[in-house]
C-alpha cells in the first residue's frame, strides 16, 4: 500500500479551508448547509400556501396576501426545491461526500477539484431558483412536473409581455434544474470512480457498507434516467425562448412526449432519494440492535433489481393522461413488482431488530420513526398502483398525502437520522439528547397531523393545485374545512419545531459533550478515524478484514468488531 498523504497536506487559509475547499468533508457539509437554506425556502413556501388553504383570502402572517398566480408559483417551486434542492444535497451529495471516502477507507474523492466545482455549480443553481422569484411576473407556476403546453408558453402566468425574454420565469426554472443536474452528474462520477478505485485494501464488494452501495446504485439510477429529461428540457427551453413547437400539436409536436421524458426520470428520482435514506437506516439499525444487518447481500441484490425496474414503471403517473389504456396493465404490473424488492428491504430491516439488544439512542429513534411513516407511505401506494382506483384518486389530495408520507420521511427523517448519528464524527461533539427527543416528537406527531387528514380530503374528491376551494362547495364542506385547518396547524407546529434542531446544532457545537472516536461502538471505518477526521482522514490507511456488520459475534469478546480489526472470527 502506498504511504498515505504524501501528496496532500492540509490547506491553511480560511478561504481554502472553509470555502473553496476540495476536502470531501467540507464539501459534504457545504451541501448540507445549502440544503438547509433551501429547506427553509421550500418550507416557507409550504407555510404560506398551507395557511392560504386553511384561511383563504386572509392575510398571511409574515407574508401578506397570496393570489392565484403566486399560489401556483409557490406550490411549483416548493415541489421542485424539496425534491432537487433539499433531498438531493442532503441525501445524495451531502451524505455521499461525507461518507464514501471515510467508509471505504481513503483520503478523499478521486477528483477533488471536480467535487468542489460540483458544489459551486449547485450553489449557483440554488441562486437561480431563488432569483426567479424576483423577475418580472414572478416565479414559474406551471407545476413541478412542468407539463407542456402550459410550460411551453406564456400561458403559465398569462402575461405574454415577458415570456419571450430569457430572464423570465420558465427559462430560469429550467436553467436552475439543469445546473442542478450538471452538479449532480459531476458529483456522481466522483462517487462511482472513488468507490470503484479507492477502496481500502481488503474491502471486497461485500465488505462495503450498505449506504455506500446504495449511494452508488442511486447515482447510477440517476445517471441512467436523467438523459431523456435533459433532452426533454432542452426542447422545452427551445419552445419557450426560440418558439419551436416540439410540444405544440398545432405544429406537429406532442405534449404527452414530455410527460414520458419527465417521468422516465421522475420515478427513478424517487428511488435516488429513497436508496441513500435506506442506506442510513441500514447503518443505524444494526449498530443499535447490536446485530448484523439481516440478509445484507440479499438486500443489495433486491435493490439492484429495483433500480433496474425503476426505469420501466414511469407511466403509472400517466394512467389517465391519454396513453393507450391497454398499456396501463403493463405499468400496473411493473409497479406491483417493484414494490416487492423494497418491501423485502424493509422487512430485512425489521428482522434485524428481532433478537437484538436495542439501544434507543437519538439516531435509532429517528430511524424507527422513518420506518413507521414509510410504512404508511408504501401501503397507500398500493391504492395508487391500481390503475382503476387511480382514475379517481389521481391529482387529488390523496396523492399529495401519499407522496408526502414517502418523501418527507425520506428527505427529513433520513437527514435527521444521519445527522444525529454522524454529528459526533464530523464535529467531535455530541448532540443534546433531550432536545433531540423533543425535536423528534414535535416532528413526528405534527407531521402525521398535517398529512393524515389530507387522505380524507383527497378521497372526498378535493383536487390539487387549487388556491382556494370556494367554487366547489359540494366538496369543500365539513369536516373537510376543519381538516384543512388541522393540517395547517400541524404544518406550522412542524416547521416551528425545527428551530429546536437548529438550536441543538448550534448549542452542541459550542458546548456539547466531547465525542470520542467511536461513541456508538460501530464497525465501519469512519468510526476508526478521529472525530472530527483530520485532513486525509486516516494515518495509516486502514486494512479491512471483516464485513461491516459483525456485531455480537460469538467468537469475539466485545460485541463489535471494527472492519480493520485483524482478529480472526471463527465462522460456524
Amino acid at each position: 500500500m502506498e504511504t498515505p498523504h504524501s501528496t496532500t497536506h492540509a490547506p491553511q487559509g480560511f478561504w481554502t479551508k472553509y470555502l473553496f475547499s476540495t476536502d470531501h468533508k467540507t464539501i459534504g457539509i457545504q451541501y448540507m448547509i445549502t440544503g438547509l437554506f433551501m429547506a427553509a425556502v421550500g418550507g416557507f413556501l409550504a407555510y404560506v400556501f398551507r395557511y392560504n388553504l386553511a384561511f383563504p383570502g386572509e392575510s398571511i402572517p409574515l407574508f401578506g396576501q397570496l393570489d392565484a398566480m403566486h399560489y401556483n408559483a409557490f406550490v411549483t417551486n416548493h415541489g421542485m426545491i424539496m425534491v432537487l434542492f433539499v433531498g438531493m444535497p442532503f441525501l445524495v451529495s451531502g451524505l455521499g461526500n461525507l461518507l464514501i471516502p471515510l467508509m471505504i477507507g481513503t483520503d478523499d474523492m478521486a477528483f477533488p477539484t471536480l467535487n468542489m466545482m460540483s458544489f459551486w455549480i449547485f450553489l449557483v443553481s440554488c441562486l437561480v431558483m431563488v432569483a426567479a422569484f424576483f423577475v418580472p411576473g414572478g416565479a414559474f407556476g406551471g407545476g413541478w412536473t412542468l407539463y407542456p403546453p402550459l410550460s411551453a408558453s406564456g400561458y403559465v402566468n398569462r402575461n405574454p409581455a415577458f415570456w419571450s425574454t430569457f430572464f423570465s420565469a420558465t427559462p430560469m426554472f429550467i436553467l436552475g434544474v439543469a445546473l442542478e443536474f450538471v452538479s449532480m452528474l459531476m458529483g456522481g462520477i466522483n462517487f462511482l470512480v472513488t468507490t470503484i478505485n479507492k477502496r481500502a485494501e481488503g474491502m471486497t464488494p461485500f465488505k462495503i457498507p450498505l449506504i455506500v452501495w446504495f449511494l452508488n446504485i442511486a447515482t447510477l439510477d440517476f445517471m441512467v434516467s436523467v438523459g431523456p429529461l435533459v433532452a426533454g428540457a432542452v426542447m422545452l427551453l427551445l419552445d419557450n425562448v426560440v418558439g419551436t413547437g416540439f410540444y405544440d400539436p398545432a405544429r406537429g409536436g406532442d405534449p404527452v412526449l414530455f410527460q414520458h421524458l419527465f417521468w422516465f426520470f421522475g420515478h427513478p428520482e424517487v428511488y435516488v432519494l429513497l436508496l441513500p435514506a435506506l442506506g442510513v437506516m441500514g447503518e443505524i439499525i444494526p449498530v443499535f440492535s447490536r446485530k448484523p444487518l439481516f440478509a445484507y447481500r440479499t438486500i443489495i441484490y433486491l435493490s439492484l433489481i429495483a433500480a433496474v425496474l425503476s426505469v420501466v414503471v414511469w407511466a403509472h403517473h400517466q394512467f389517465i393522461a391519454g396513453i393507450d389504456p391497454r398499456m396501463a396493465t403493463f405499468f400496473s404490473i411493473g409497479t406491483i413488482i417493484i414494490s416487492i424488492p423494497f418491501a423485502g428491504v424493509f422487512l430485512s430491516f425489521m428482522a434485524t431488530l428481532w433478537g437484538g439488544s436495542i439501544r434507543f439512542t437519538m439516531p435509532m429513534i429517528w430511524a424507527l420513526g422513518f420506518i413507521g411513516l414509510f410504512l404508511i407511505g408504501g401501503l397507500t401506494g398500493l391504492y395508487l398502483g391500481s390503475s382503476t382506483f387511480d382514475i379517481y384518486a389521481h391529482d387529488t389530495y390523496f396523492v399529495v398525502a401519499h407522496f408526502h408520507y414517502t418523501m418527507f420521511p425520506v428527505v427529513f427523517f433520513g437527514f435527521f437520522s444521519a445527522v444525529y448519528f454522524w454529528f459526533p464524527k464530523f464535529t467531535g461533539k455530541h448532540l443534546n439528547h433531550t432536545l433531540g427527543m423533543i425535536h423528534f416528537w414535535l416532528t413526528f406527531i405534527p407531521f402525521n397531523v398535517t398529512f393524515f387528514v389530507l387522505f380524507f380530503n383527497g378521497l372526498a374528491g378535493q383536487h390539487r393545485r387549487v388556491n382556494e376551494y370556494s367554487s366547489f362547495s359540494n366538496i369543500m364542506k365539513e369536516p373537510y374545512i376543519t381538516f384543512e385547518k388541522i393540517s395547517t396547524i400541524g404544518a406550522i407546529v412542524l416547521m416551528v419545531s425545527q428551530f429546536i434542531f437548529l438550536y441543538n446544532l448550534f448549542i452542541s457545537l459550542r458546548k456539547g459533550r466531547k465525542a470520542e472516536k467511536n461513541p456508538w461502538d460501530s464497525n465501519t471505518l469512519e468510526w476508526q478515524a478521529d472525530s472530527p477526521p483530520v485532513h486525509g482522514n486516516f494515518n495509516p490507511y486502514p486494512v479491512v478484514y471483516h464485513g461491516p456488520y459483525e456485531y455480537s459475534h460469538p467468537s469475539s469478546e466485545q460485541d463489535f468488531v471494527p472492519q480493520d480489526n485483524p482478529i480472526v472470527l471463527k465462522t460456524n
Binding site: Y147, T298, T329, S332, G355, Y469, I475
Partner: protein, 236 residues
C-alpha cells in the same frame, strides 16, 4: 361522514368497492408490519436483553419468512389487478352504443360543451356550443352518454367526482369516454390538471335530468338558435 362523494354512475361503485378491498389488505398488512416493528422494541430493549443473538440472515432458509411475506404481497397485488381489471375495461376500454353523444372541450378556464344540432350529428356547422364559465352540461338519466374530450390550449382533466371519472384532455387529441348516470341532480365538473392561473376556478355543472326535461332543454337551445351559439368546435 362518508368517505366518497355520492356515486351517480353505473361503474362508480366498482371503484368504491375496490377501495374497500384494498383497504382490507392494507389494514392487515399494516397491523402485521406494525407488530413486527414494535414487538422487538418492547421485548428486546437493551435493558431486557443484554447480548444480541448473532444472526446474519445470509442463508436462504433464514430469509423464508420474508419470502413468504413477499409472495403473499405479490399474490394479493395480482389479485387486485385481476379483480379490478373488469372495472378498468368498463371505464376505459369499452365502446358503448351512444344514446347521446356530446363533445367537451377544456379551455382556459372553463369547459365548453358542444351538442349536435338539428341534424343530430356532431361536428357539423349547426352544432350548438355553450362556452362560458359556470355553464351547465345537460344529460339524460339512465342513458349511455358518450363524450368526446378535447383540449384547446393546454392540458386539462375532465373530473366529475360523483361519476368517479377523470380523464386528461390533451391538445391535438380526441379521447372518448362514456358514462351512464343513475340519479338526477346538479353536480360539479372540475379540471384536475393544472391549467394556469384560474385552474381552481375552472368549474362547470353537470345536470342530470329525465329524458323529458332534457328534451325540453335541448329544444330551448334550438329555439334560441342565435348565430352566436352556432360555431364550429372550439378545438379546431
Amino acid at each position: 361522514m362518508t368517505i366518497f362523494p355520492e356515486n351517480i354512475s353505473t361503474y362508480g361503485q366498482e371503484i368504491d368497492r375496490l377501495f374497500y378491498t384494498i383497504s382490507a389488505l392494507v389494514a392487515v398488512a399494516f397491523v402485521i408490519s406494525l407488530f413486527v416493528l414494535l414487538y422487538p422494541l418492547f421485548n428486546n430493549s437493551a435493558k431486557r436483553v443484554k447480548k444480541a443473538t448473532y444472526f446474519t440472515g445470509a442463508k436462504r432458509k433464514h430469509f423464508r419468512w420474508i419470502t413468504f411475506a413477499l409472495v403473499a404481497l405479490a399474490l394479493s397485488d395480482f389479485y387486485f389487478l385481476y379483480a379490478e381489471h373488469g372495472a378498468w375495461v368498463t371505464i376505459e376500454q369499452t365502446q358503448v352504443k351512444p344514446d347521446f353523444h356530446v363533445s367537451i372541450t377544456g379551455r382556459q378556464w372553463n369547459w365548453a360543451f358542444t351538442y349536435p344540432g338539428l341534424d343530430g350529428k356532431l361536428y357539423t356547422p349547426d352544432d350548438i356550443v355553450i362556452n362560458e364559465m359556470n355553464s351547465e352540461l345537460h344529460v339524460p338519466i339512465n342513458k349511455n352518454i358518450v363524450v368526446d374530450l378535447w383540449a384547446k390550449d393546454v392540458l386539462h382533466s375532465f373530473f366529475v367526482p360523483n361519476i368517479r371519472l377523470k380523464q386528461d384532455c390533451v391538445p391535438g387529441r380526441m379521447i372518448q369516454r362514456w358514462f351512464k348516470l343513475t340519479k338526477t341532480g346538479t353536480y360539479d365538473i372540475a379540471c384536475a390538471e393544472l391549467c394556469g392561473l384560474l385552474h381552481g376556478k375552472m368549474r362547470n355543472f353537470l345536470v342530470v335530468e329525465s329524458q323529458e326535461k332534457f328534451n325540453g332543454y335541448i329544444d330551448s337551445l334550438y329555439k334560441k338558435n342565435a348565430p352566436a351559439l352556432t360555431m364550429t368546435n372550439p378545438s379546431n
